[in-house]
């Protein structure tokens, strides 16, 4: 562990856990929909939250490589949105 | 409960979920997803094993998992291609069950 105190590490982990909880709560939207876009939206939220969690973990676990992971995630986050928008729309409610 | 133990258990449960998906669902895409779940379970188990002893991370399971991920993504991509062609050719999104 790094020279920084135990408290900071715990704090980071706690925030990470909170964010994770937040993320899992967001799953409700995937579940409820109603449209495909809503579900994708939720997935995008997961992406951002995951980035934040990774940054926190990088600090808490003293694994700087995790920042690279976060970087990679944000870099590629747009791909999903692009892929999604190329899926032909169907009438509301169909894209469950 | 140690961290490795926790993830070991999670991996076991994940494997069970994957197998259940394979047994209970017929849609090809779902089955491919289930296979991937099973794959993730195996990988998780390996990485949990690598972390069992304090202060030491076994690189060999990591190498196995990295190789496994490549194999899994290759197989998934091919399976999806095959499923699409099958669907295009037959209009079926599942395999006709021939026995039970």
């Amino acid at each position: 562990m790094s020279h920084r105190g135990y408290a900071v590490e715990t704090l980071n982990l706690a925030v990470a856990a909170f964010l994770l909880l937040n993320l899992l709560a967001g799953l409700g939207r995937v579940h409820r929909g109603p449209g495909a876009a809503d579900r994708m939206l939720a997935a995008l939220l997961f992406g951002t939250t995951t980035v934040a969690v990774l940054l926190l973990l990088a600090e808490a676990m003293a694994l700087p490589a995790l920042r690279d992971v976060a970087l990679l995630l944000v870099l590629l986050a747009a791909i999903l949105a692009v892929a999604f928008t190329r899926i032909p729309r169907r009438p509301d409610g169909a894209g469950r | 409960m140690t961290q490795a133990g926790l993830y070991t258990l999670a991996a076991s449960a994940l494997a069970g979920i994957g197998v259940y998906g394979l047994l209970a669902r017929r849609h090809l895409l779902r089955r491919i997803l289930a296979v991937n779940l099973l794959g993730n379970a195996v990988f998780l188990l390996l990485v949990a094993f690598a972390r069992r002893q304090p202060g030491y991370v076994d690189p060999v399971p990591h190498a196995m998992v990295l190789t496994g991920i490549v194999v899994a993504v290759s197989a998934t991509a091919f399976a999806l291609a095959l499923a699409r062609r099958y669907y295009a050719e037959t209009g079926l999104d599942h395999l006709p069950e021939d026995e039970g």
Partner: protein
């Protein structure tokens, strides 16, 4: 606190997995599976496997998601009825499936928890003898040094998956993500996004490739990033599917494997054995191989997504 996080993560993983399997809508399952990939990346991070987290991020966020979405599109169920949920299974069938998977969970969990960590292991020896491999990152040492044959075979697996996908290829028009929706132009922000993301991605890939020798990263992660960029370019129409594999593409597809094999076989003469590197040259050779492999990983993955034999830049 760490354990609390882990508990939450493991619970989330399992909950997501359950929903992937049990949810009624297929699209929902696909999205949940993509989300599951993110949680897996977190799990790798928690288990001190940043390499795997990198790979998962590149593959899960970039490739698998795009692949699944485009396959979902191709397999559009005409109506919900086409996909009977688990309820459609006869009750005894669902029960039997549940019992079987439950038994697997119990047996696996019992066996896995009951295993004592061995005192000596291949991993410990790998760490102890990492110096002999010519690189500083344990994972790269294992992948390209001690167990190089696995890595070689793994890249061949990718090539074979591409060849296999060619066998079952759909017509060019329907392949991969398919044609863009008719009548819609390109969204305004696409071009600037690409101008930013693509060069960044190439730089990141190069960085990962270079850093593989001493820290997390390496050929596979770099290749996955490049493949993700390829997917992006294919999605935005900058790359167009082509009916034939050009000679350059063929060379790129097999070049890495040939290079790896050639250096490996040469090892029988220049070093101690096949797939051994001469000591002084180990690092540069490994770097050369990794570069070739990154291309040999990126191109087939992109082609697999594209569903075509080749790719061409869009005519401007």
């Amino acid at each position: 606190m760490g354990l609390a996080f882990d508990l939450l993560l493991a619970g989330g993983l399992l909950g997501l997995a359950l929903q992937v399997v049990a949810s009624r809508g297929l699209f929902r399952s696909v999205v949940l599976f993509i989300a599951l990939g993110l949680l897996m990346a977190l799990a790798w991070a928690r288990l001190a496997a940043p390499d795997l987290a990198l790979a998962e991020a590149a593959i899960g966020a970039g490739l698998t998601g795009a692949l699944l979405l485009s396959a979902y599109r191709a397999l559009q169920p005409a109506e919900e009825a086409a996909d009977p949920g688990p309820a459609a299974l006869p009750r005894w069938g669902a029960l039997a499936a549940a019992v079987l998977s439950g038994a697997l969970v119990a047996a696996l969990g019992w066996a896995a928890l009951g295993l004592e960590a061995p005192a000596a292991s291949a991993g410990r020896e790998a760490l102890a003898r990492l110096g002999e491999s010519g690189v500083k990152s344990p994972l790269t040492g294992v992948l390209l040094g001690f167990r190089a044959i696995d890595t070689l075979a793994e890249v061949v697996v990718l090539l074979v998956a591409f060849l296999g996908a060619r066998v079952v290829a759909e017509p060019l028009q329907r392949a991969g993500p398919g044609p863009s929706a008719p009548g819609s132009g390109e969204p305004v922000l696409t071009a600037p996004l690409l101008r930013l993301v693509v060069p960044m991605g190439v730089i990141v890939a190069g960085y990962l490739l270079w850093s593989g020798g001493h820290q997390p990263g390496g050929a596979f992660q770099a290749g996955a990033v490049l493949a993700a960029l390829g997917v992006l370019l294919r999605l935005t129409g900058r790359l167009q599917p082509a009916a034939a594999t050009s000679p350059a593409e063929r060379l790129a597809l097999v070049g890495g494997i040939v290079l790896f094999s050639a250096i490996g076989l040469a090892g029988a003469g220049t070093a101690s054995a096949v797939l051994a590197y001469p000591e002084a040259w180990a690092y540069p050779l490994i770097l050369a191989i990794e570069t070739g492999l990154a291309v040999a990983i990126a191109l087939p993955l992109t082609l697999l997504f594209s569903g075509s034999a080749g790719l061409r830049w869009r005519e401007r």
